[in-house]
């Protein structure tokens, strides 16, 4: 047993990481699906999209070959509509509430149609949005992830000049280095970021970390308002013996490496255990398998009824040949010569429901032992607690607390996205960015006064 890189041929890597939701082959194929859309009134799909894209409208526009109009409808509501069309868990969002589900017929492939239009917009660099003349107002945004970019774009459209401070050397946030490579490629993310900034009025300063290269006080002094979209970053520790052994990896780091370093350079074990069953766990498990791991086992301490991932995602892991062990919780990692050799788990059972009806897993006293050479931790992410508390930001276990107008406890400082909600989807972060921009515009108008215009 060993952890190795370069397990596959170039073609195998290529095939394993090709798009799992391929686009339509042809215009006709898209039209057939678009024409199935009933053009619902007050459409349930729109109500189930966190960014409220007017879905029947954009689909109707596809049916009339008005692709530009369609792309505008999507991107006006969701500036990351191109990325979202590839990464949204649509089965629980828009497509999950398409009325066709009542007819036991496949719902309209909304995301695929969304991709059809937005991909063209990005490919042809359509200048769909015009920025209003500069108002002279300035806002600092921290984090070039979905929340920060969406906020920046909405502000810039209104004539606010935005500077984004980003600690990495690329924009896109977890979209660029967190999401499974078979959903979006780094080029897609790059193109999406440049499409967003092509509006003008948005300056991204890379390699600028808040709390390190730039302070909140500076930003407050130099800008009319500050928006925090820093996301959540750190993987939760298991706090069990053996966690320090070589071969224990953090899922986010593992996935980041796949995106950053290229498939052949990422080492993976023969027998891999992945701990947790959220989207991150699935992504780590499937990608470990696709990198050439012989055996991948997902260990989850509850049952399928409680799992955070959707059934579609679970099936993805199953189809990739990953094993699942339900009701097992890591107790200890054992090693030989400083390297992982075994994962010992408590066998759990579900207790009687508490008042909320939730059944917590409890230990049965029994254990099981898995022979593994790699353990990937995907038991959730922890917010940047230190960053938050050193800045005296009111918070909830490190998640930034905001009021109904996206404002933190520090006047002029707003926040949204994963750093507030603790980690949801890209589409939620985009909406949070829009909400933040709206709140900041109101703040600028009422607290600071109407925008200055140079005559």
């Amino acid at each position: 047993m060993a952890i190795l890189n370069n397990r596959l041929t170039a073609e195998q890597y290529e095939q394993n990481f090709s798009d799992i939701h391929p686009p339509f082959d042809s215009r006709d194929a898209a039209l057939v699906e678009a024409n199935r859309c009933l053009f619902c009134y007050d459409a349930p799909c729109t109500k189930s999209c966190p960014t409220s894209i007017n879905i029947p409208r954009f689909i109707k526009q596809i049916t009339t070959d008005n692709i530009k109009g369609s792309a505008y409808t999507i991107l006006d509501a969701n500036i990351m509509g191109a990325g979202c069309s590839k990464v949204c868990p649509v089965e629980k969002l828009c497509e999950g509430s398409c009325v066709y589900n009542f007819l036991d017929e496949p719902p309209i492939p909304i995301a695929k149609l969304q991709r059809y239009s937005t991909e063209k917009a990005i490919e042809h660099k359509w200048p769909l949005f015009q920025r209003k003349p500069s108002t002279g107002r300035k806002v600092a945004v921290v984090g070039a992830g979905p929340a920060g970019l969406s906020c920046a774009h909405a502000l810039s459209r209104e004539g606010v000049d935005v500077t984004i401070y980003e600690k990495e050397n690329q924009g896109g946030g977890l979209m660029t280095y967190g999401i499974a490579a078979y959903k979006v490629t780094p080029e897609c993310c790059k193109d999406e970021v440049s499409f967003i900034t092509s509006l003008g009025g948005i300056d991204i300063k890379y390699k600028q970390a808040l709390g390190q290269d730039v302070s909140l006080a500076e930003l407050q002094n130099n800008y009319d308002a500050v928006y925090l979209g820093v996301g959540v970053g750190l993987a939760r520790q298991l706090n069990i013996p053996g966690e320090e052994l070589a071969g224990v990896e953090d899922a986010i780091q593992f996935i980041y490496d796949i995106r950053e370093k290229g498939y052949p350079s990422v080492p993976v074990g023969d027998k891999v255990a992945v701990i947790g069953l959220g989207m991150t766990a699935i992504d780590a498990a499937t990608q470990a398998k696709r990198l050439g791991a012989k055996d991948v086992t997902i260990v989850y301490r509850r049952t399928q009824a409680e799992m955070p991932s959707t059934e579609v995602e679970l099936n993805l892991a199953k189809l990739d040949g990953c094993n699942l062990i339900w009701l097992a919780s890591p107790k200890e990692i054992k090693g030989e010569n400083g390297r992982v050799s075994q994962l010992i788990c408590h066998v759990m059972e579900l207790s009687v429901p508490d008042t909320s009806g939730r059944r917590a897993p409890v230990e049965t006293g029994e254990t099981i032992t898995l022979n593994v050479d790699m353990v990937i931790k995907a038991a959730g992410q922890v917010p940047y607690e230190e960053l938050v508390s050193t800045h005296q930001l009111a918070n909830w276990n490190g998640k930034v607390a905001i009021d109904s107008r996206c404002a933190t406890n520090i006047p002029g400082v707003f926040a949204g996205g994963d750093c507030v909600n603790g980690g949801k989807e890209v589409v939620d972060a985009v909406q949070a960015g829009k909400d933040g921009a709206k709140a900041i515009l109101e703040f600028i108008m009422s607290e600071i006064g109407p925008p200055m215009r140079s005559e």
Partner: protein, 422 residues
């Protein structure tokens, strides 16, 4: 097993499905394939003086993802040499003696030319003649085709010339490019035609190419009005057919129904409204001859279910149900009802009624699904919601008569009954 065999003016065919005079009947190769596929008869592509066709010559209307809802052509009559056509017709009659062979004709405007052509065609052994008074393009400029069909006097005169010579049954094919097909229909019946067929194609412009800015079909930067046919024209054809079936003079002769027939259901509708058989063109141009299988099979099953043994049992049966507006029963009233178990909450009924009709549907907001219900008092029974609802029998119209007796508009006025009581 019902009996599908048809007898049109003594011309027998194993079923009532004939191919209309058009490219599918332009040569022996096609016609033999059609007969092999099971078509009951053909009307050979119109013969006349020599012509030359252009390209392109077709265009189509696609609608809601369906191709060729409407079809358009600027083709002329057969552009193959007459002698070859005549030889092939004779050959087809010889090879399939049980199928109907009608030959469509359009001679130059002289009695002698008509007589000459008729004699040549009769020599082939064909069973009948169809006079093309309908071709809407190309030939009209020379005073033929629709130019004849649009003038009852000329049409009658030409029929009279034909009847002097013809020894086999004569069908006159009418153009729809008139206010009413009845005057020409009457004139030709009075002129002696044995039967009528309708409709030929309707003059149309199917659309303009948004890149070249030239309408379709495109011929070297120009276009012309073409003849419209296919599923899109069926309602118009049915209406024209009914007027012919109702008229006391034209209804004396059998009618061959044409225009948008694509399925057995369409054919049954034509027969119910007075046609004795049907002719098909666009549907085979789209799908090939094989569609006749389901046409026969479907009609057969329907007849069995309804207990009709022969075509005569139902030909014309629906004609008397088309009446005048003044004779409709004003006391008949229906109200929409939504089956909440079937409703998929698409809101289409609501927005149609709200924006464009009678605001008779109630919306109660939900997330993500709204609930829709009918305000019975506001519902005028127009049917719109039922028509837009995408779910089978989710909206039904429930009868709620305003009074037991039959009251029509004339009676309503005579009694001075109040307007808008419902």
């Amino acid at each position: 097993m019902a009996d599908l065999s048809a007898n049109f003016l003594g011309i027998k065919s194993p079923n009532p499905f004939w191919l209309a005079s058009a490219p599918p009947t332009d040569k022996q190769y096609n016609v033999l394939r059609a007969f092999e596929a099971g078509w009951g008869g053909v009307v050979w592509k119109t013969l006349g003086s020599q012509v030359k066709n252009v390209s392109s010559r077709y265009s189509a209307i696609d609608y809601g993802g369906t191709k060729m809802m409407g079809f358009n052509n600027i083709e002329l009559i057969s552009d193959r040499p007459l002698a070859i056509n005549l030889r092939e017709i004779a050959e087809c009659v010889r090879l399939f003696p049980d199928r109907a062979m009608i030959v469509s004709l359009m001679a130059d405007n002289s009695r002698a030319k008509w007589h000459e052509l008729i004699a040549q065609v009769e020599d082939t052994g064909a069973h009948g003649l169809e006079l093309n008074f309908g071709c809407p393009h190309g030939m009209t400029e020379r005073g033929m085709g629709a130019a004849v069909g649009q003038d009852p006097e000329i049409a009658k005169m030409v029929v009279e010339w034909v009847m002097e010579k013809a020894t086999i049954p004569v069908i006159t094919k009418l153009t729809p490019n008139v206010h009413s097909v009845v005057p020409t229909g009457r004139a030709t019946v009075e002129g002696g035609t044995h039967a009528l067929s309708l409709i030929n194609t309707i003059q149309s412009v199917t659309g303009v190419d948004l890149d070249t800015l030239v309408p379709n079909p495109y011929v070297a930067g120009k276009s012309v009005y073409g003849g419209y046919c296919g599923p899109a024209v069926k309602p118009i054809a049915l209406k024209m057919l009914t007027t012919i079936a109702q008229d006391p003079i034209t209804s004396r002769v059998p009618i061959s129904g044409i225009g948008g027939v694509s399925t057995w259901k369409d054919a049954v509708e034509f027969l119910l409204l007075g046609a004795s058989n049907v002719q098909v063109c666009t549907a085979v141009m789209k799908h090939g001859f094989r569609i006749v299988e389901d046409m026969c099979d479907g009609m057969n099953n329907w007849m069995d279910e309804k207990g009709f043994k022969t075509l005569d049992d139902f030909i014309g049966k629906s004609v008397p149900t088309i009446t005048h507006w003044e004779d409709l029963d004003i006391n008949y009233h229906i109200v929409a009802k939504i089956n909440q178990d079937k409703c998929i909450h698409c809101g289409l009924c609501y927005i149609a009624c709200e924006d464009t009709s009678h605001q008779a549907i109630n919306l109660s907001y939900g997330n993500p699904y709204n609930t829709y219900s009918i305000k019975e008092d506001e519902c005028v029974g127009c049917n719109l919601c039922k028509l837009v609802c995408p779910v089978d029998s989710c909206i039904t119209m429930v009868e709620q008569r305003k009074g037991d007796e039959y009251v029509n508009w004339k009676e309503f006025q005579r009694r001075g009954l109040p307007l808008n009581d419902h």
